[in-house]
């Protein structure tokens, strides 16, 4: 088996995936109340379309995309709007939020209806119709960056896409949501890819999957071997973080390096996440907006696993109702929206599941230690580990001492966290680099 990988840097942290690996996706009982944020995507937050006391149905558009890079937001439940006001989100910023009292019976009925219809035949649709459906359904990148999918699928006409890459690497430790999605919905995934191929007029798609998911590789290989999905191939990836990074995945599979400061279409590539491909299929063929997603709830909880959660369910609800609550609440140190390397930890448990929430990770005092940073001892491990070929310690010191001249490469940092992970003196390298970005931007006037 040919193994693909990116060449430069990287690290292999303990995977800790066994906690939730191979646990079938379960749908929890609906919560009584739900809080849907209107900034579920990269770009401008959506404008609220509903008012207090308004009755709404499942999949109703409650937020209108505001501008080109923005996305619609839909209700994941049927019920009554109780209020629309700013609330703290899982990514740590305030955003307009629609609070809904859930009508459980109606919700279940309307949700089921999506899957009871005969899927529409996408091969009969035009490119414009397909992109329009994806836009209408509020599909965004589900790997975490939440870039509006319709925008990504409409590259500038002068940029010819020849390769589509699907990120099934799931290189973040602990997370198993994409793995389980590949095992349980391979046909939806592959049909979603056929739709994306049709939109772009390309028949060359690679699904990158790390070798720690051999069953997913085998299953998708069998499916593509049937010849029903022309152009789609499987790329087994070496298990190494950050194999699923957009630029790393492109380099691993195609050998092309996206130029500094440029987007993947510069090298003829387009990258989507496996979850996004399934959402594209459901939008186009079932008319189902992005209102739920598979989330791995794992770590220091009683029953870690993979759950299909409605967008808007609060962390507290899903940790208690799905994952059986914390193993010992007094020992919980942090709760993370996403994986441990790039996820953000939340301020409280009232924040809600978003379109980009791939995992809810609870870490106890045994795994999570907040340590004060020491001085750089110039061991060079961050330099060796950086997948972008940067000198993290130099950038961090440049930010710490406010020296824009040392920050010339800071904008290339993808904030994967490898440098901070390997640092023996616990330097907050990624944090300093984040602070360095505005310093550099202001100084260079861009």
């Amino acid at each position: 088996m040919k193994l693909f990988t990116f060449k430069r840097g990287g690290v292999h942290p303990p995977e800790n995936k066994s906690l939730s690996e191979h646990k079938p996706v379960k749908s929890p009982e609906l919560p009584n109340r739900i809080a849907i944020n209107l900034n579920q995507h990269l770009g401008k937050p959506a404008r609220p379309l509903v008012k207090k006391k308004q009755e709404i149905f499942v999949g109703e558009r409650i937020g209108e995309a505001d501008g080109f890079i923005s996305a619609h937001v839909h209700s994941s439940v049927a019920g009554i709007v109780t209020k629309v006001e700013p609330a703290m989100t899982a990514v740590g910023i305030l955003a307009d939020t629609v609070f809904i009292d859930v009508d459980k019976e109606k919700t279940a009925e309307e949700l089921a209806a999506f899957y009871q219809q005969t899927p529409a035949d996408f091969t009969q649709m035009t490119t414009q119709e397909l992109v329009e459906k994806i836009k209408d359904c509020g599909i965004v990148g589900m790997g975490g960056a939440t870039f509006p999918a319709n925008v990504k699928l409409s590259p500038p006409p002068d940029k010819k896409i020849d390769t589509i890459l699907i990120n099934g690497a799931e290189c973040e430790p602990y997370l198993t949501a994409d793995h389980q999605l590949m095992l349980e919905q391979p046909d939806a995934l592959l049909n979603g890819l056929m739709i994306i191929q049709q939109i772009l007029g390309v028949q060359n798609t690679w699904i990158g999957i790390e070798t720690n998911k051999p069953d997913a590789i085998q299953l998708l290989q069998q499916k593509t071997d049937t010849g029903r999905f022309p152009g789609i191939q499987i790329a087994p990836l070496k298990t190494k973080y950050p194999q699923g990074g957009e630029k790393q995945l492109i380099a691993a599979v195609t050998g092309r390096e996206v130029p500094s400061g440029k987007l993947p279409f510069e090298v003829g590539c387009l990258v989507q996440n496996t979850g996004t491909a399934v959402a594209v299929y459901e939008a186009v063929c079932l008319n189902k907006p992005l209102i739920d997603r598979i989330v791995t709830i794992t770590g220091f909880v009683n029953s870690p696993g993979n759950y299909r959660l409605p967008v808007g369910a609060t962390f507290r609800q899903v940790i208690d109702d799905c994952a059986g609550g914390f193993r010992d609440e007094s020992r919980v140190k942090t709760v993370i929206n996403g994986g441990p390397m790039m996820g953000k930890n939340v301020r409280n448990l009232d924040v809600a599941v978003m379109k980009g929430t791939s995992g809810i990770l609870v870490l106890s005092d045994t795994e999570f230690h907040y340590e004060d940073e020491g001085p750089c001892i110039r061991c060079g491990r961050c330099v060796d580990g950086c997948p972008m070929g940067l000198m993290p310690t130099k950038l961090a010191i440049g930010a710490e001492y406010n020296r824009p001249e040392d920050l010339d490469t800071v904008m290339d940092c993808i904030e994967c966290g490898t440098c901070s992970y390997v640092c023996p003196t616990r330097r907050q390298l990624v944090h300093w680099i984040r602070l360095g970005k505005p310093i550099f931007r202001n100084a260079s006037g861009s």
Binding site: I336, L361, P375
Partner: protein, 319 residues
């Protein structure tokens, strides 16, 4: 649930830490320390203990003056222990006890803490201590004895490199390469056995505390440089093998030049650094006034590290 931590990602860190790195170096130095004590006896053991104790106490004192917290923890993070032990390794076996005190004091207080403490020093602390002693107390610092088992009464002797410098090639050839390698030749505490140092260095390589670039380039360059002269005139110049197993080359190349704080960040920089160390060592040994040049070579190259770093940045992705 009001006390959950909000911090910057990543939220997991490697289990390797500063203490582990530093004590790995201590572990790697132990074989040489044991052999040194076996050959040079109780006095050598005492010098090592005094040097380490002085280094740790000086570190604590400097941290206190600097107003740092966690003094006990920081002083015992291992970096001062390493500096003290390496300083002792650079002393002759009969050096008076106070040379260990002064050397460690200079190493920690002047070479390390005037620059800001751990991570900020430009020069290798132990080598600054050694050079300070060598210049200030040349007599005590160049009195050598023959290593014997658990030595209690010392027999004066010359080092191979000293003999080469003052008495010529024939005198130096009285020492066998094998003796140099195993540790039966006069020299500093830590220089006595190349094999013990190599065992320690292998451990550091496996633990990924050091990388191969500096030692290989240092030793390789010295061998090539001295080899050229040996080929030109074998009657006048010692062979390259003699040069790499005698004196402080092994100790310097494996443990002093590889000090991460005072060596270049990138692999490319480390190669340049190693080559520079080897070349300067060779020049001093063959043409300089001192028989040994390792310490000076490393210190000179330490001074060049900021410059090397600037010109050896790694090539970033996508250019």
């Amino acid at each position: 649930m009001n006390n959950i931590v909000v911090s910057s990602s990543p939220h997991l860190r490697t289990t390797d830490n500063l203490k582990r790195v530093m004590y790995d170096v201590v572990i790697a130095l132990l074989p040489a320390a044991v052999i040194s004590a076996v050959f040079f006896g109780p006095h050598a053991l005492m010098l090592m203990i005094i040097a380490v104790a002085t280094a740790v106490l000086t570190e604590a004192l400097c941290l206190k003056i600097a107003g740092k917290s966690n003094i006990r923890q920081t002083a015992l993070d291992g970096s001062a222990v390493v500096a003290g032990l390496l300083l002792a390794f650079n002393l002759p076996p009969t050096a008076p006890w106070w040379t260990a005190v002064i050397g460690s004091l200079v190493a920690i207080a002047i070479a390390k803490h005037t620059f800001g403490g751990l991570g900020y020093n430009l020069f290798n602390p132990a080598l600054v201590g050694r050079v300070f002693l060598l210049i200030s107390f040349p007599v005590q610092m160049t009195y050598w004895t023959l290593p014997t088992f658990w030595q209690t009464d010392a027999v004066a002797a010359a080092t191979p490199l000293g003999a080469l410098k003052t008495d010529g090639l024939e005198a130096a050839q009285a020492f066998t390469t094998q003796g140099n390698f195993l540790g039966t030749i006069p020299g500093c505490l830590g220089e006595v056995s190349a094999v013990a140092l190599l065992v320690g260095a292998a451990y550091l390589l496996i633990r990924k505390v050091i990388t191969w670039e500096i030692p290989v380039c240092f030793i390789g360059t010295l061998a090539v440089f001295t080899g050229i002269f040996y080929l030109v005139d074998p009657g006048k110049y010692a062979d390259p093998l003699f040069h790499i197993v005698s004196g402080g080359v092994m100790l310097g190349a494996l443990f002093m030049a590889t000090d991460m704080v005072t060596s270049p960040l990138t692999r490319k920089g480390q190669i340049i650094f190693g080559i520079g160390c080897g070349l300067i060592t060779g020049i001093i040994r063959l043409f300089g006034g001192y028989p040994e040049g390792v310490a000076f070579a490393i210190l000179l190259m330490n001074a060049a590290v900021p410059l090397i770093d600037r010109h050896t940045e790694v090539k970033k992705f996508g250019v």
